[in-house]
């Protein structure tokens, strides 16, 4: 497989995960937005998607149901819930971890 096609595959995979993450956020945060209105760099808290610690509980539950990802400690949560892209990274990292075991 050429380098280019590997990169393309990675990009495609990332787009798929992004779409799933956007859908998950719209449902669990009751966002009044279309998926493509959520920029991947948007932060989840504060002025971005307006999430607060209560909503974070919902997103953590949704991550577990949707992707089988458990975020146990506060540090992990803070890191993962920075932005939409951070969530996508988390899901992709988990796929790699599963694939390499």
């Amino acid at each position: 497989m050429s380098v280019d096609s590997a990169v393309l595959q990675l990009i495609a995979r990332r787009e798929q995960v992004l779409a799933k993450v956007r859908r998950m956020l719209i449902v669990s945060l009751r966002l009044r937005r279309q998926p493509d209105e959520i920029d991947p760099d948007t932060s989840l808290f504060g002025t971005g998607l307006g999430m607060d610690s209560l909503d974070a509980v919902e997103v953590v539950v949704a991550l577990e149901i949707e992707f089988g990802i458990k975020l146990e400690d506060t540090f992990q949560r803070k890191l993962a819930l920075r932005s939409v892209n951070a969530l996508v990274d988390l899901v992709l990292a988990k796929e790699v971890a599963v694939a390499s075991t």
Binding site: L29, R30, D52, S53, L54, D55, V57, E58, V61
Partner: protein, 708 residues
């Protein structure tokens, strides 16, 4: 010299909670250093990381027959009313009132988070009144975990203003598996017994009921009743910060404490002891310590401050009254109760959390009881020996600065007027609308319908008043809502999440939004309303009751200038029926507002559900003839017959809002108020009477046109 305000004495108390039944059991627990926290057996907690709670031992072993032969008997659910009546009867008996008071003059104020099985709120209070034979006004306060603290404060007002001769005030909540799961999902539960003000974070839930009997001091002395101390002052405030967490700066709690001190004509040095809210969560305990320092100054670190949830667990809506009773019991014996399991205080908390496991000798002349709650609703009480005469301030004039209405007819008071004029009853849902068109501060996410309706109504009413709530005005502006049922959509979503994901998958957001005061918390946060925050229920008449209580609050207090008040209803999910939903608010103000034509509130009254005549007489005291009546009252014409509000003798007659609009349980009476304001603004009348009644109370207000 200004006359002094009446002293209000506590002449009886009753309790049933984790440590047992009766005030004797409360004291014994402290004397023996014994807590009431145990592994839960009433329902399964196997799925949770927390296993202990403070359940009432009086229910131990109560079971119902097995559903199938061979199964072990299932635990029987404890009724909140049953628990409430045990405490209320003890309080009533202790006050030795029998034969000494007219039943029509006995009011019942009950604070509760979850009512009777999440359903009956005003019905629970009415049940307590019926059990005691009380026939005065009933008020149900639901500001989550500060509910019973607020109930005692408002009860004081009813006595002081002569709306009752005896007040039974307190609260009740039972612990259910759903509530346990909700707090578990929020990450608020401690794995083992909680250690308030100590190092581990998390609370331990409990349940219970507690009531005090209040009476004017003069009356109590005349019949030689034993006083436990006086209710000297209370304060309410809103955080406008978060749905479940306190404002970490403690600013909201500090405002409630300052309000209570000012109301009591007390200074920090008058307070000898603080009974803290002290849930045991890191966020609460640190915010509360900051608040105590902000409001009491160096006194906060010079006096004992203990948290009693280590004994009782967090008894939800009953927590405030139970902790107040226990603190008074200790004060009578010249001791303060310790904070259990607090050998290693959390860094940052007040200097003396009374670590230890036994009572400590201490003279408490006056104590401060602090409560904080979901939705940022804080309450504080000052109890004990009167400090100095509290001057009777002249009543402030209360005006209606702005109004709003939304319902099946759409958004706007003009649409409400048109719907009433059309004579065709309209019922059903509020047509869909975009909150961001009404409120610039609307979040990018959907609120539940109750939160959306209330926030829209609040935004429209403030705009109508020309009031921009910014800067210092945020702390002078509050919100009193009257609603009858839990927010339907959030309660539905919460149940659905349990059905789909199991009990540990209970969804945190709808759980936190299904309390009666959640819409008020959401709305206050969106609009930065940091003044007094209150959610009350009287079933029908809730909206007008909230308005009357708001007028009373503004006219006699100095800690708020503007209150949004009115009613809110949300239709049940997937059960259309014949009811209607909506929200209707008025901005009542005791300070200048920019809006042009101001209608003044010339009088108000409230009393028992059947006391129409007395309530109208009170509201019309010193008021010349009225031109017409706006009523949300079953059999309005019959009930008003022969009173000063008899429509047959009034030029404009009667506007029967229920008949015109179809039933809106809590909101109809607020529609009546807002319709009357609109008529007066248009110069159609000089003075109008608004009256409503349900099974809890009857209430009325008189509005006067500018210059009338």
């Amino acid at each position: 010299m200004a006359a002094a305000r009446a002293d209000i004495a506590i002449v009886g108390a009753g309790a049933a909670c984790a440590v047992g039944t009766g005030c004797g059991a409360l004291w014994a627990a402290v004397a023996e250093g014994r807590d009431g926290l145990r592994p839960v057996v009433r329902f399964s907690v196997a799925e949770f990381s927390a296993r202990v709670a403070g359940l009432w031992p009086g229910w131990d072993g109560r079971t119902q027959p097995a559903q199938r032969p061979g199964d072990p008997p299932a635990p029987l659910a404890l009724s909140t009313l049953e628990l409430a009546l045990i405490a209320a009867r003890e309080a009533w008996a202790g006050a030795q009132l029998d034969g000494n008071v007219a039943r029509e003059r006995v009011a019942v104020l009950l604070g509760t988070c979850f009512g009777e099985s999440f359903v009956g709120f005003s019905e629970l209070t009415e049940g307590v009144a019926a059990g005691l034979g009380a026939r005065g006004p009933c008020l149900t306060l639901s500001t989550a975990c500060s509910s019973s603290t607020a109930a005692i404060g408002l009860g004081r007002d009813l006595l002081e203003r002569g709306f009752a001769d005896i007040v039974i005030a307190g609260g009740a909540d039972v612990l259910t598996r759903e509530v346990f799961a909700g707090f578990h999902a929020l990450g608020a539960l401690s794995r083992d017994k909680c250690t308030p003000l100590g190092e581990t974070s998390g609370t331990t839930l409990g349940e219970g009921a507690g009531f005090v009997v209040l009476e004017r001091g003069e009356r109590a002395a005349a019949r030689r009743a034993v006083s436990w101390g006086s209710v000297l002052g209370y304060g309410l405030s809103g955080d406008a910060f978060h749905d479940t967490a306190p404002d970490p700066s403690g600013g909201g709690i500090a405002r409630a404490i300052r309000g209570a001190l000012a109301d009591a004509a007390a200074v920090p040095d008058d307070v000898d002891y603080v009974s803290a809210h002290g849930t045991g969560t890191e966020s609460n305990d640190l915010a509360e310590s900051l608040a105590l320092r902000a409001a009491l100054g160096p006194r906060a670190d010079a006096i004992p401050v203990s948290a009693l949830k280590g004994f009782l667990g967090h008894a939800q809506g009953a927590a405030g009254v139970l902790e107040a009773i226990l603190s008074l019991l200790c004060a009578r014996r010249g001791v303060v109760a310790p904070t259990l399991r607090c050998a290693n205080p959390r860094p940052g908390v007040v200097a003396d959390p009374v670590a230890g496991d036994g009572p400590r000798p201490h003279r408490t002349r006056r104590l401060l009881k602090v409560s904080a709650a979901f939705g940022g609703a804080n309450a504080a009480l000052v109890l004990g020996e009167p400090v100095r005469p509290r001057p009777m301030r002249p009543a402030r004039t209360v005006e209606v600065a702005g109004t709003s209405a939304l319902g099946p007819f759409g958004l706007g008071v003009d649409l409400l007027e048109r719907a009433v004029a059309s004579g065709t009853p309209q019922s059903g849902a509020v047509p869909s609308f975009d909150l961001s068109h009404v409120l610039r501060s609307a979040p990018p996410r959907d609120l539940d319908p109750s939160g959306r309706y209330l926030s829209a109504a609040a935004g429209l009413a403030l705009a109508d008043a020309g009031l921009a709530v910014r800067g210092a005005l945020r702390e002078r502006t509050g919100l009193f809502t009257g609603n009858a049922r839990m927010p339907a959509r959030s309660a539905f979503d919460c149940r659905a999440s349990i059905e789909q994901r199991g009990i540990t998958g209970i969804a945190a957001v709808p759980f936190a939004h299904m309390t009666l005061n959640a819409p008020a918390g959401t709305c206050a946060k969106l609009l930065s309303l940091r003044g007094p925050l209150l959610a009350l229920s009287t079933g029908r008449a809730s909206g007008l009751a909230a308005l009357v209580v708001a007028c009373e609050h503004l006219s006699r207090r100095e800690d708020a200038d503007h209150l949004l008040a009115g009613g809110l209803d949300e239709l049940p999910v997937h059960e259309p029926g014949t009811a209607s939903e909506g929200a209707c608010l008025a901005v009542v103000s005791a300070a200048a507002v920019p809006s042009g034509t101001r209608v003044s509130v010339a009088g108000w009254g409230l009393g028992g559900p059947a006391a129409t005549e007395e309530v109208l007489a009170r509201a019309l005291e010193g008021v010349p003839e009225v031109d017409g009546v706006y009523a949300a009252l079953p059999q309005a014409r019959e009930r008003l017959l022969g009173t000063r509000g008899d429509p047959a003798h009034l030029p404009l007659g009667l506007v029967d809002v229920d008949a015109c609009l179809g039933p809106a349980e809590a909101t109809a009476s607020a529609y009546a108020f807002v319709l009357a304001v609109a008529a007066l603004r248009r110069g159609r009348a000089r003075r109008l009477l608004i009256v409503s009644a349900g099974d809890s109370l009857c209430c009325a207000a008189v509005l006067a046109a500018p210059g009338a």
